[in-house]
């Protein structure tokens, strides 16, 4: 193999970009949609996460990264009041959504969850047909018109990049789908109610790289319409999809043997991965600590 041939081979393959270069500057509207101030969350007597403060911007993807037990999912679930379902869970601090306190006295968690949807770590399609899975949300909102439902189901499945794979078997069980398809079905189910925000709790952790890629492409598309907050253990994923990143860390109190999560650093994804200000963030994003 002479030199020119070698050049031809190497030039044909694009060199992988360094991680942080892939992350672009945030491109949302710049409006603050959530304002989190000094939020601490307890499960019974156990303080899971303490003093979290950050803004969340509209039409951006915000990634929560950090090791297990650092409170990422706990904070995520505070955004649509899913923690209310855990007996003994309690929150302190201020979490406002478009200027309204989410934990205000007259706020109904039901109404909150209709605007702020959630996709879970493990795909959880209902044991119903694919069609009924997607139509579930609109139906509980009172939509009975068959034509409208058909339209919503098709639009949502197209939005979740699943339509072409399932259009001929909408009446088969949602449980017959593969893991990646099931997760996209859950995303379709979530966007069928046209939420304002989509929360994702490690949506790709149970999926293979191809399905993960499909979900990530989908997230980038959904960003134009929705605000997305995603918890991920995969730092490449955070750099690939997110505009901003929040790094959580576990504080371990060896005396009382309690572990509490804290928000260590928050910034644009580019800044967090290229120029972390905290040594713990640096250690985590460079893979020296996990």
């Amino acid at each position: 193999m002479d030199q020119s041939e070698q050049d031809a081979v190497t030039t044909r393959l694009p060199r992988p970009e360094p991680l942080a270069k892939q992350a672009a500057e945030p491109a949302g509207t710049g409006n603050v949609i959530f304002d989190v101030r000094d939020v601490s969350i307890w499960y019974g007597g156990f303080k899971a996460v303490t003093d979290v403060s950050m803004p969340v911007y509209e039409n951006e993807i915000l990634a929560f990264i950090g090791s297990s037990g650092s409170g990422k999912s706990t904070v995520l679930r505070a955004f649509n009041r899913m923690n209310d379902l855990v007996p003994g869970a309690r929150m302190e601090g201020e979490l406002s959504y478009r200027g309204v306190s989410l934990y205000g006295k007259d706020v109904s968690p039901i109404t909150v969850r209709r605007r702020i949807g959630m996709v879970f770590q493990k795909p959880n399609p209902f044991p119903k047909s694919i069609y009924d899975n997607v139509a579930y949300g609109p139906r509980i909102n009172g939509e009975r018109n068959k034509g409208k439902l058909d339209e919503i189901v098709e639009r949502s499945l197209r939005g979740a990049a699943l339509w072409d794979e399932v259009k001929n078997r909408l009446k088969t069980s949602g449980l017959s789908l593969s893991g990646g398809q099931a997760q996209r079905l859950c995303i379709a189910r979530t966007i069928a109610v046209e939420p304002d925000v989509v929360l994702m709790d490690e949506p790709a952790s149970a999926l293979d790289p191809i399905a993960t890629g499909a979900i990530e492409d989908l997230m980038r598309e959904l960003k134009s319409k929705y605000t997305i907050i995603i918890v991920t253990h995969n730092m490449q994923q955070a750099t690939r999809v997110s505009d901003r990143t929040a790094f959580f860390y576990v504080l371990t109190d060896t005396k009382s043997d309690t572990r509490t999560g804290v928000l260590v650093e928050y910034g644009t994804t580019k800044q967090i991965f290229e120029d972390p200000q905290d040594s713990r963030t640096q250690a985590y994003v460079t893979g020296r600590m996990g």
Binding site: N80, F126, I140, S173, L175
Partner: protein, 296 residues
Amino acid sequence: MAVSADPQKVDLREPPSWRRTKNRIMTWLMVLAFVLVIIPLGLVIVTVVAKGASIISWQFLTSDIPVNIAPPGVGGMGPAIVGTIQITALATVMAVPLGVLGAIYINEYGGKGLLAQVVRFMADVMTGVPSIVMGLFIFSIYTLHFGFSGFGGALALGCLMLPVVIRSTEEMLKLVPDSLRQGSYALGATKARVTMTVVLPAAIGGIVSGALLAVARAAGETAPLLFTILTVTSVNKNPFSGPNTSLPSQIFSNASSSFVGAQARGWGAALTLIVIAFVLMVVARLVTARFARYSS
């Protein structure tokens, strides 16, 4: 390099050992236990079919019950079949909805609350109450005041079914994964909506088959009916007034008779009852399979 004719082969056969012997012994013990279990079951069915099959005919299933002295081939068990269906159906209508609702309360709403604990405990206690005590209970609070009727028997059977339905439904609801409930909540569903549209449909197969098994059990109960319905010889179309009869009661009274004809009709009634229970079991299986369509 030359390959030798017999390279060092790995011997993967299990070496003879005490462990292997133990395994053989235990396997044969299990086969023996299985055979021992099958013997009484097989004998019951063989005996009932041998003694009861010859008398079964359309006339047997529809005719009135004759006097005990009548020879085999005269009369039949019509009123007992009608009574059993009336009484069991009434008991089912009362006990199944109540039991399912109770289980929904215990599992979905009550949680670890005091009331749910009490209801669960009482259901357990009720499961252990002998059926004759349940019959006496209904006799004292209902039959003494309103007289013998199919409805009194249905009340007694309902009381027997209720705890069984509660516990079997609760077990089925527990099997519904929490991730489904959370998925529904995350779409903005209320608790009632989550229960009605996700939890119940996911568990319905098990709930229905559990309820049908309770019905089959109740259909074969004799003791609770002894002092609540008595026996009659012709069909009582009104289950709410006047004595009634049922297959188990009829088996009991015919078996205590010394007349050959009565005894033959008793065997026929026993076979009819077994067939009814068997049909319910088959229906329970079919229902479970039907509802399992979306769950695999």
